[in-house]
Symmetry: C2
Subunit: 205 residues, 2 copies
């Protein structure tokens, strides 16, 4: 479909631009409230002594996520998506045009809360991580394989709620590896930071 091909082309341009400035870019996908911002906050705290970090926070209506990431210690640019249900490579291209690319070497891009549409729109990042929360019920991976199949890392999050939800992280891990054996997974509690070292390692950071 023409829109997708145009997005693919822009995504490749974004990646070239990032590479020319030696910036590693990671995009974060996940359903509403799965823990994307919490993950970025934890990664920023964990890595800011090692990298000069910036983040793009894609949000429909508020600056809530941007504020949280700023407080963690990264430069943040908000991308107000309005009613858009996914970030696309064009929005990222514009945002990159407004950042000082010589001042950073690690960029996190938080997508809108949605695991369906963003899967179709690569942004030009080097790695994609999907945050999958135990509170989303036991069928997510089976029902939405396309949401996970192009990811590099899956953060199986809110593991502290395993007993309350009756779902074991291992269940998701098994389903994910059946879908894509090379997928890297980590069990996380992004509210406390548990599992963050493993996520960073899986992302090559």
């Amino acid at each position: 479909e023409d829109l997708l091909r145009r997005n693919q082309k822009l995504a490749e341009e974004n990646k070239k631009l990032l590479d020319s400035h030696k910036i590693l870019a990671i995009d974060i996908m996940g359903s509403v409230g799965s823990g994307k911002t919490s993950l970025v906050v934890q990664l920023v705290k964990y890595l800011k002594s090692k990298y000069r970090i910036a983040a793009l926070a894609g949000d429909t209506a508020t600056t809530i996520d941007a504020e949280r990431i700023k407080s963690a210690g990264a430069e943040v640019m908000e991308i107000n998506t309005g009613k858009e249900c996914h970030l696309d490579a064009n929005l990222i291209k514009k945002a990159l045009g407004e950042l000082n690319l010589d001042k950073i070497n690690l960029l996190f891009i938080e997508n809108v809360g949605n695991i369906i549409c963003p899967a179709d729109f690569p942004l030009g990042s080097h790695k994609r991580i999907v945050v999958l929360s135990l509170t989303e019920g036991p069928y997510v991976v089976l029902k939405h394989p396309f949401s996970f199949i192009d990811a590099d890392v899956i953060a199986i999050n809110k593991v502290d709620l395993s007993q309350a939800t009756g779902i074991a992280p291992a269940e998701f891990e098994k389903q994910l590896h059946e879908l894509k054996p090379s997928l890297k997974t980590a069990h996380t509690n992004c509210a406390t930071g548990e599992g963050i070292a493993k996520v960073a390692k899986a992302l090559g950071l």
Copy 2:
């Protein structure tokens, strides 16, 4: 936008068709794993002695939800949405063409797990209920006002996880009523059926 206007027209045609058969139709929206199917299952159990119920289950890849609703005692038609991120009036029109409309008087339509795109696509139902889970974090209503503003009823679900998530149902209730004072809300545990009588009443059932 032309697509939206065409959908609106088809939605109105669907509603006329339902009215001509004296069928009340309710569509259910909510994020992945928020509790939509559980809600439909509970409503079917609660109402099947009073209504002849059918359900349309919109799902990307499996028959999991359809099976669960069937077991609860309703006739179910699956709408396999593939990679589509929302049901639309056209899909509903086709589904209505395959149901025996003289045999039912209550129809539940479960949308895809997504609170952004479905908000833009009315289906021709008489009432819309959104399932909002406490596990989606405290900012959902503030960040996604458009997901709630056209709804009639909000089921504030997974109230049993209030302590584990640190979120009080009353917080959501306050934000929802600030957004739209006429919105009806109910606190629910759709796994156990707690709050279902109130939901049914709010839906006029």
